[in-house]
């Protein structure tokens, strides 16, 4: 006869690296709030602490080692890291939350150490499988990978999107600047996400060049997000200049939430040409903020967009440009896409994701 495990006093989280304005980091902070609301002591321990998390996260070396029945650990897995070793050494129940690992071949040319960490991340995923009692992933795509790797119990729990990203009101100064540019004419393309090779902003620029030439010579492209290493950012900047688009492409970098809200408020279309995404929270944010989405159908993007946007089978610049034209020149289609996007975004509402997370932890508590 099986009996439930004893309820632990604390469920702490381990994450390899944590930084402000990052989807997995935001998810981890929200998970901490939920674990605390369930009555657990819950702290976050990270091997690398980025800017903006001071006082909210502890160095991994400070992880307390309590008896196994008093402390469980939840590991946020998205990259290979020695942090996984600390997770495995733990004697209590181990839970894993999987956000996918970016394939090494997409990043190693730009950031060789990241390529090494990505390869390690996939090796560790397989090694962790027999040591984890309960695993969940933020998309069906990611969950399938967990199952393939032999994880025994796998559930889908949508990513806990930072409420500020969808609720913040536009910063008036940023709004005035963007609105003034909009009054000069031309549509606004937007992509939000790290400036990173696997997000392939250079492919958005190619499609944008085609669009400007053929449909809207005054169009602007806004690329919002902090850089993952300097090399890709520099390459993108040089590429934009070589394409003669320096005046039309805004490499905004990392921006405060109010400024991000202003970018969303003035965007006409959200375009995603990523080669790999484990979820892509900005797609949901765009849908929530009534922006039609045009995206290359790959990895978890297909599932995140669902029936709420236009999914493209490839990233041919002519096809992406033509799809954006459909959105921008057919008001009825725009209205339909906004409505469909909102329906899709509702599936990933923060409230729903919170309930799914609490349900997953509650289920893990019932396991013997």
């Amino acid at each position: 006869m099986s009996t439930m495990a004893r309820r632990p006093e604390r469920i702490d989280q381990i994450i390899p690296a944590i930084v402000e304005h990052d989807a997995v980091s935001n998810h981890t902070f929200e998970a901490q709030r939920l674990l605390r609301s369930m009555g657990f002591v819950s702290e976050i321990y990270a091997r690398i602490l980025g800017p903006g998390v001071e006082g909210r996260v502890h160095p991994l070396a400070e992880l307390p080692q309590l008896a196994g029945d008093r402390q469980w650990l939840l590991y946020q897995h998205s990259i290979g890291s020695p942090a996984a070793d600390a997770f495995v050494r733990h004697q209590g129940r181990r839970l894993l939350d999987y956000h996918n690992v970016t394939p090494a071949h997409l990043v190693e040319r730009w950031i060789p150490p990241l390529g090494v960490e990505s390869r390690l991340g996939r090796v560790q995923l397989a090694e962790l499988a027999p040591k984890v009692a309960y695993a969940f992933a933020d998309s069906g795509f990611n969950a399938a990978e967990l199952t393939e790797n032999g994880f025994a119990v796998v559930r889908v729990v949508p990513v806990l999107i930072e409420s500020g990203n969808i609720e913040a009101t536009p910063d008036p100064v940023a709004m005035a600047r963007l609105a003034a540019e909009k009054r000069a004419g031309g549509s606004d393309w937007l992509f939000v996400g790290q400036l990173a090779p696997h997000k392939a902003q250079h492919d958005i620029v190619k499609a944008f060049a085609c669009y400007r030439r053929n449909y809207d010579g005054k169009a602007r492209l806004r690329l919002v997000g902090r850089e993952m290493g300097n090399a890709y950012r520099d390459a993108l900047r040089r590429f934009v200049a070589a394409a003669g688009l320096s005046d039309a492409v805004d490499l905004a970098g990392s921006v405060p939430l109010g400024t991000l809200a202003a970018y969303y408020a003035t965007a006409d279309v959200f375009v995603c040409c990523s080669d790999h995404e484990g979820f892509c929270a900005p797609i949901v944010e765009a849908m929530h903020r009534k922006i039609p989405v045009v995206a290359y159908s790959v990895a978890a993007v297909t599932e995140t967009v669902g029936e709420g946007g236009i999914l493209l089978p490839d990233k041919d610049p002519a096809l992406v440009a033509a799809a954006v034209r459909e959105v921008n020149e057919r008001p009825r289609l725009r209205a339909q896409l906004v409505e469909a996007g909102q329906r899709q975004a509702a599936r990933y509402s923060l409230d729903g994701a919170r309930k799914a997370f609490v349900a997953a932890i509650s289920e893990a508590l019932t396991l013997p």
Binding site: C210, A243, A321, R332, L333, E339
Partner: protein
């Protein structure tokens, strides 16, 4: 939410975009030449951007070696000599790049 518009025909939208993309290509308003031009521009930008960190990495390594082998008193002169050599190398490199660009007709 009450639907205020007709059902969204995503397949129809994709078909229309595909037809328009094909029209762009058959009319020559966007061609393989454009794809190749942008692909080459990005590759050039990538090569240039990736060279900078590689040079910085080498420079750090050289400094580390210099600290080991040079007496402290000789380091300022060595630093000045290295800076001069670096400047000359950059000028030579830029001239070489310019020559290559001209030979390619850019």
């Amino acid at each position: 939410m009450t639907p205020s518009t007709d059902a969204l025909d995503l397949d129809g939208v994709l078909a229309a975009a595909t037809a328009e993309a094909a029209a762009l290509r058959t009319s020559g308003r966007w061609s393989q030449v454009d794809d190749d031009r942008l692909a080459e521009a990005f590759e050039t930008a990538a090569t240039q951007a990736l060279r900078v960190p590689a040079l910085a990495e080498r420079s750090t390594e050289l400094r580390r070696i210099a600290r080991k082998v040079l007496p402290a008193a000789a380091r300022p002169q060595a630093r000045r000599a290295a800076a001069l050599a670096d400047r000359l190398a950059r000028i030579a490199f830029e001239r070489l790049e310019h020559t290559i660009d001209r030979s390619r007709g850019r």
